[in-house]
């Protein structure tokens, strides 16, 4: 016969259930094994009825103690079945029944399936995640606070128009770089929280860049420029890539890697301190994004060297999709020439054109170098770099 002697006692005094008595009740009951009883007494108004309603909702048996007014017995259902997890142990496969719990938490069994599709460590992981995240949080800046807007001089109409056009181009690329990780975040199992955190910071960075670049265009007399269909088509192929590793490779390694060279170029040729500061700060952020992409791809290549072939094929496939597009939009090209030359005189255009040609060569050189650091054969790296979109991102 089961032992019905109360294993613990709880005096609620005049504390009513809506005043917090349930906190004490749950604490006491959680200490008991299934089937053990707790004796509860109290003299708050309507305690019997409140206890009965609460126990019914909790699925607990509650009895009045015969002959003792204000005293009740509640049978414990025991602690909820839970999975114990480890903070430090990052599994190769994340369990479906973890829900949104952080590593290290106790997780009640039977939670809903969130359907995270990226739940293999290989799918998303990278080295240096903690360092990248720490740098990201430490280096957040504000377009309103950290940019010397009052120092913006009045530029010639031609140069200001070029700045506006370049800012337009940068902004749409920033949006692409925002949407790609944002699409993947809700698919990543929170067991790999470090990856989610890094990507979330990436999204924040890109939102800030988009705001800052738009603001720069609008701060001058020219305003925003024109968005070319060719550029949109190029960016759309990035957004449509369904595989996380491939999308990360195309965006962070190939695209944002190329953008690092572009931002450095813009800083060197900036016609004013505001533009220079903006692109320098954006460069610092983009370098982290490239670091994440490179480290993730490296992590995958170390385990699956053959994935290099898929990445090379993805670059070629994207190139074929965009084969009919003439290359960098003329709006952007021409704006870069005027920007780098400092104006539209013949000599300025000649100088600007030379700088832009050098920029494209430097972009190619840096891409090849980055690809070789990922152990692509030099010839393959050269081909891949040549296939990379002429739209930079």
């Amino acid at each position: 016969m089961p032992d019905s002697t109360p294993k613990s006692r709880l005096d609620l005094e005049d504390l009513a259930l809506h005043e917090g008595a349930t906190v004490l009740l749950r604490r006491v009951l959680s200490q008991l094994a299934t089937g053990e009883w707790c004796e509860v007494c109290g003299d708050s108004a309507d305690l019997a009825s409140q206890l009965a309603a609460w126990c019914r909702k909790e699925g607990l048996r509650c009895e009045s103690r015969q002959g003792v007014a204000g005293t009740y017995r509640i049978e414990s259902a025991g602690p909820a079945l839970a999975i114990h997890t480890s903070r430090g142990n990052v599994s190769e496969t994340a369990a479906l029944n973890w829900g949104l719990a952080p590593r290290g938490a106790r997780i009640e069994k039977g939670g809903p399936d969130f359907g995270f599709t990226l739940r293999q460590k290989r799918d998303v992981w990278a080295r240096e995640l903690n360092a990248i995240y720490s740098q990201a949080t430490a280096n957040q800046w504000s377009a309103a606070r950290d940019i010397p807007w009052p120092e913006l001089p009045k530029l010639s109409t031609e140069v200001e128009s070029a700045v506006g056009q370049i800012m337009t181009f940068l902004t749409e690329n920033e949006f692409a770089a925002l949407y790609v990780p944002a699409r993947f975040i809700p698919r990543i199992h929170p067991h790999y929280r470090e990856v989610v955190e890094v990507l979330a910071m990436q999204v924040v960075d890109e939102a800030r860049h988009a705001e800052a670049f738009t603001r720069r265009a609008e701060a001058g007399c020219a305003g925003l420029g024109t968005t070319a269909t060719s550029g949109q088509l190029s960016l759309k192929t990035l957004l449509e890539e369904p595989d996380f590793t491939t999308a990360t490779f195309l965006l962070c390694v190939m695209g944002e890697g190329t953008f690092l060279t572009l931002l450095k170029f813009l800083a060197e040729h900036a016609p004013d301190p505001v533009t220079a500061m903006l692109v320098r700060l954006a460069h610092r952020d983009e370098a982290r994004h490239v670091a994440f992409g490179t480290e993730h791809v490296r992590y995958v290549f170390e385990r699956e060297p053959e994935t290099r072939l898929s990445m090379a094929a993805a670059v070629e496939r994207r190139s074929q999709m965009l084969a009919s597009i003439s290359g960098l939009s003329s709006y952007v090209h021409d704006a870069l020439v005027v920007f780098a030359g400092g104006g539209i005189s013949v000599s300025q255009i000649r100088t600007g054109s030379r700088h832009v040609a050098e920029l494209q060569r430097e972009m190619d050189r840096m891409r090849r170098e980055r690809l070789q650091s990922l152990r692509f054969e030099p010839a393959v790296a050269t081909t891949m770099s040549a296939y990379h979109t002429k739209n930079f991102m």
């Binding site: 259930l17 809506h18 005043e19 108004a45 309507d46 009825s49 409140q50 009965a52 309603a53 609460w54 019914r56 909702k57 909790e58 699925g59 259902a77 079945l81 029944n97 069994k109 039977g110 939670g111 809903p112």
Partner: protein
């Protein structure tokens, strides 16, 4: 019964008072199949439609509100059977609450006062507490001003919105008293609809029971048995069904009992709730 209906999956009727009803029954389906009791479910937008469907054989088992159970028995002249219910369906009470400063002390004091209730067809927030008031000698419809909160009429008060609106009417001063289910009283205080200490319990109904699975009495036992066995064997500790049990608001399924519907039966008759439908069934 045709051969095809004898062999088909057991059809459960349920009222779609919330989108989660689909989640719950989609979740339960594989459990029943795994335990040798294949089921399908059919959703209705009102309990009236579900009662008709059950009595006409369109479904085999109806997950009925207490009012739908009472109606099933009236219309079928007692030819229905309650087979199971949730642990949380037993021994509910409704509180009639007033503001803490109220001078009301007995039910008869409600004469001439405004009493906030839930939807007109809510057993717990309307019919049963109005029955309690009637037991005191008042006719609530004549002697009081009954302030209905008709959220989702036809769904028998399954949606808590009507009850919450009744509590809000009390808090705002639009009503002198409000009827709320015991468990919801605590919820309304915890969520901030009612300020702690601002109200007090004025009267409490005797315990009553809530939903049950209803079948026609002529449904063959071999159709009911596998379903009932699987249902009563369902465990809250089973990760495959736990989340659906949470959504359905129970820890255990229990065999049904019909002793907890007397107050509702009395209220339905007293207020002639089903009108001609009940009269023609009785004649």
């Amino acid at each position: 019964m045709s051969t095809s209906s004898a062999n088909r999956a057991l059809r459960i009727g349920a009222v779609a008072y919330d989108p989660k009803v689909v989640t719950i029954w989609e979740g339960f389906k594989p459990y029943f199949a795994k335990h040798g009791a294949e089921i399908d479910y059919v959703l209705y937008s009102t309990y009236d439609a579900q009662v008709d469907a059950n009595l006409s054989g369109a479904v085999d088992v109806a997950w009925n509100s207490p009012l739908a159970w009472v109606k099933s028995q009236i219309v079928s002249r007692g030819a229905c059977r309650a087979i199971a219910m949730r642990d949380s369906d037993r021994d509910l009470t409704t509180k009639i609450i007033v503001r803490a400063s109220s001078t009301l002390s007995k039910l008869a004091d409600l004469k001439g006062k405004t009493l906030a209730v839930g939807a007109s067809d809510s057993p717990q927030a309307t019919l049963i507490p109005l029955g309690l008031v009637a037991d005191s000698g008042l006719d609530p419809r004549r002697d009081c001003r009954v302030l209905y909160h008709n959220v989702m009429v036809g769904k028998h008060g399954d949606h808590v919105g009507g009850e919450r609106d009744a509590a809000k009417a009390l808090a705002s001063g639009a009503a002198d008293a409000a009827c709320v289910l015991d468990a919801n009283y605590a919820v309304f205080i915890n969520e901030g609809t009612l300020d702690p200490g601002a109200t007090r319990v004025f009267a409490t109904t005797p315990p009553f029971d809530h939903c049950n699975f209803t079948t026609r009495a002529d449904l063959p036992e071999q159709r009911v048995k596998p379903f009932l066995g699987a249902l009563l064997g369902m465990s809250f500790q089973d990760p495959e069904v736990r989340v659906f049990m949470e959504l359905e608001g129970l820890k255990r399924w229990l065999p049904a009992r019909t002793s907890g519907y007397a107050q509702l039966e009395k209220a339905v008759e007293r207020f002639d709730f089903f009108g001609s439908a009940a009269s023609s069934a009785r004649s």
